[in-house]
Amino acid sequence: MSDKKVDDATGVETTGHSWDGISELNNPLPRWWLWTLYATIIWGIAYTIAYPAWPMISGATEGMLGYSTRGEVATQIAEHEAKNEDLVAQLVAADLETLPPSDDLHRYAVSRGGAVFRANCSQCHGSGAAGAVGYPNLLDDDWLWGGDITNIAATVAHGIRNETDDDARWSEMPAFDEILEDAEIAAVVEHVISLSSPDHDASITDQGAAIFEENCSACHGDAALGNRDIGAPNLADAIWLYGGDRSALEHSVRNARFGQMPAWGQRLSEADVRAVSVYVHALGGGE
């Protein structure tokens, strides 16, 4: 060991490597640390054999343990559903109209329904259920087809204006474009505006009222309060599904509006339909 090199300044042995006069000190790593490195390498190889790891042309190696995160989620969901079996049975059997909000089953329905809503309904009605033009706001106290839980559940289960369900809600309004003259349409729009706003042209509202009585009141009612049996909206309140200004109303009168909603009873379980109905009912507008 005669050519063992020692650094003068530190007294530490060097590796013998020297660059521009700077020599590399040899402070040896503990050997157990090296073994730890080997152990992690072995662990790493074993891990990729045991678990899904190597990307292939389609998919990846499956791993000997047959584990997948997707499978784990499915198991957890199944476990969760099994745990909730009792509650689901109760929910399907319960009389929702008389279920008090303080009841645990009601709380369960609201939180389950919230999840159903966010996954299935929020695309049209919005994540906060505030709706949009043409998609009803579910937070207010105005309902086209009734706001008690039974009616909400019927709407959810069968949908609106869809051919796939015989019990779907179905409203009909003629397109008055070809029935009424332009001036008559303007007058009836002015009449409808006058029902909820002081900001209207009073000179033609009488004419509009007469046209309304003749053409519209059969469905919307004499006082324009609507008819929930046939889904005719209340025209005298502050809420407008398609907008309350003159051009929006004129468009509605000329062309009619035919909103649609799928029949969720075909896609969701009975418990989910009931849960989401309880959730919507508990948003503040329920009757």
Binding site: M1, S2, D3, K4, E13, T15, G16, N26, P28, L29, P30, R31, W32, W33, L34, P100, P101, S102, H106, G126, S127, G128, A130, N137, L139, D140, D141, D142, S196, N234, D237, A238, I239, A282, G284
Partner: protein, 470 residues
């Protein structure tokens, strides 16, 4: 192949010799107190009434509660824990800047358990010389017997250590019963297994390797030391040249290796301050003992400050210890530490037993009702931190006319909140179409909750959004 020196070093076994003295005694006391606290705390009972656990210190993960004697911390009050962690950090800065690696030398669990394991080792295999002999001996029946006895005792300590940990997270007597009857949760067994393994390996075999190669803290601490920091050092101006005493001009060090033999890190303190030193003080005890025997003054190895070196070499006395300890840096750390401590205690005392949080629902910001009224929705969380059910009453104060309703209560504003529980209420504030609040962008409102029986109150401020016409 002498051009390629070995890049990896085998672990040099360390056989610390038994030592007695003031630092050893201090360390025995600290070991007894810290281990006592660790093992026994979960078994202290504390009566909190029928609906709450009666364990004095309990981290209840499932219910998001932390119990510490009379203090109960809910998950939303986690800032107390953050505050304590900041205090622990500042405390560590303070002690490190004043006394160097005093945490490492006296209170670090790695040090305490290693000390305990060495105690067991010495008790079974004998002191340093016997252990060195045994280490070098062939694997005879006697060696096997001693080693296995030692490992079994270590393992028992390790199991007790891992076992004590899980009792902080569940009712200790119940969990012990479950553990014994093999009906405890797998996580409990898993935790015990992992902590048993780490205690056994770190305390029995890794020892100083943990401090030197695994722990980042020794490297960080160097940044907190300065020339006034008291660390353990060797007065070479007094000790050198070391060796036989009768030689003319000899230093006080007789090169007896006592300081090296007692060192749990296996270093020679006479080489000066070094990264491996955990400042446990055992070399001071060992050297003082020798100095007494040869009739020399104590303190050849001592707590020293770097700033005294020049003076001491010139034969002058060092500065008083308090002058090293009390300096702007340590005073600042103490002040910051105290400030946070006082703040936490203050926050603890002004906590109310009832609380509410108000989250305005801003999706949408407001709802138009059919009669033109404007409604805002708020999610109000009511907390009853008392051990008994209470009746809470919600109310509202605002400069404008607003109505308050709670969903599903038919106009009722008083509810029962169960003991030690939280209730979420959907609260509606409504302004009639003709009221000013319906037509201005923001109206400040204050939502109150009152405990009907104690009349204790709490409030939260929020705003009401109206519909501003274009």
């Amino acid at each position: 192949m002498s051009e390629n020196p070995p890049l990896y070093a085998a672990q040099e076994p360390v056989f610390p010799r038994r030592v007695s003295g003031k630092f050893r005694n201090l360390k025995w006391w600290i070991m007894a107190v810290t281990l006592g606290i660790y093992y026994l705390t979960p078994w202290i009972r504390w009566d909190r009434g029928p609906s709450l656990p009666d364990q004095a210190v309990l981290i209840d993960m499932a219910h998001r509660r932390f119990y510490f004697f009379w203090i109960e911390i809910w998950s939303h009050e986690f800032y107390f824990v953050a505050g304590l962690l900041i205090m622990a950090g500042l405390g560590l800065f303070l002690f490190t800047s004043a006394l160097g690696r005093v945490w490492c030398g006296y209170t670090c669990p790695q040090t305490v358990w290693t000390d305990l394991f060495i105690l067991v080792e010495r008790w079974i295999e004998g002191d340093r010389n016997a252990r060195v002999r045994l280490y070098n001996a062939k694997w005879t029946l006697k060696k096997w017997r001693l080693r296995i006895t030692k490992w079994i005792v270590w393992l028992l300590i390790a199991v007790a250590t891992g076992g004590a940990w899980v009792f902080y997270f569940a009712d200790a007597p119940t969990l012990l019963n479950q553990l014994a009857t093999l009906s405890a949760h797998p996580v409990a067994y898993g935790t015990i297994a992992v902590l048993t393994a780490t205690t056994f390996v770190f305390g029995g075999f890794m020892r100083e390797q943990v401090c030197i190669y695994m722990c980042p803290w020794p490297r960080i601490q160097a940044a907190m030391m300065d020339p006034d920091t008291l660390t353990i050092g060797y007065r070479d101006w007094r000790g050198e040249p070391r060796g036989k005493q009768r030689v003319e001009g000899a230093g006080d060090c007789i090169d007896c290796m006592a300081c090296v033999n007692v060192c749990p890190m296996g270093i020679d303190i006479r080489d000066g301050q070094q990264m491996e030193c955990i400042t446990c003080g055992l070399c001071i005890d060992a050297c003082d003992d020798i100095m007494d025997k040869i009739g020399k003054p104590r303190g050849l190895i001592d707590y020293l400050a770097l700033s005294d070196e020049t003076a001491e070499r010139a034969g002058k006395p060092p500065k008083a210890i308090w002058k090293h300890v009390f300096r702007p840096r340590t005073i600042l750390y103490t002040a910051l530490w105290s400030l946070i401590g006082v703040g936490l205690v203050y926050a603890l005392f002004v906590r109310t037993d009832i609380e509410l949080t108000v989250s305005p629902v801003r999706n949408p910001t407001f709802i138009v009702q059919s009669d033109g009224a404007i409604r805002n929705v708020y999610e109000v969380r009511l907390r009853n931190k008392l051990g008994e059910p209470r009746q809470f009453h919600l109310s509202l104060s605002s400069d404008e006319i607003l109505r308050i309703d709670v969903d599903g209560t038919n106009g009722r504003l008083t509810f029962d909140v169960p003991a030690n529980a939280t209730q979420l209420k959907r609260v509606y504030l409504t302004a009639r179409a003709t009221d000013p609040a319906a037509r201005v962008a923001n109206t400040p409102v204050r939502i109150w909750v009152e405990d009907i029986s104690s009349t204790e109150r709490a409030y939260r401020d929020t705003t009401f959004n109206g519909k501003v016409s274009q």
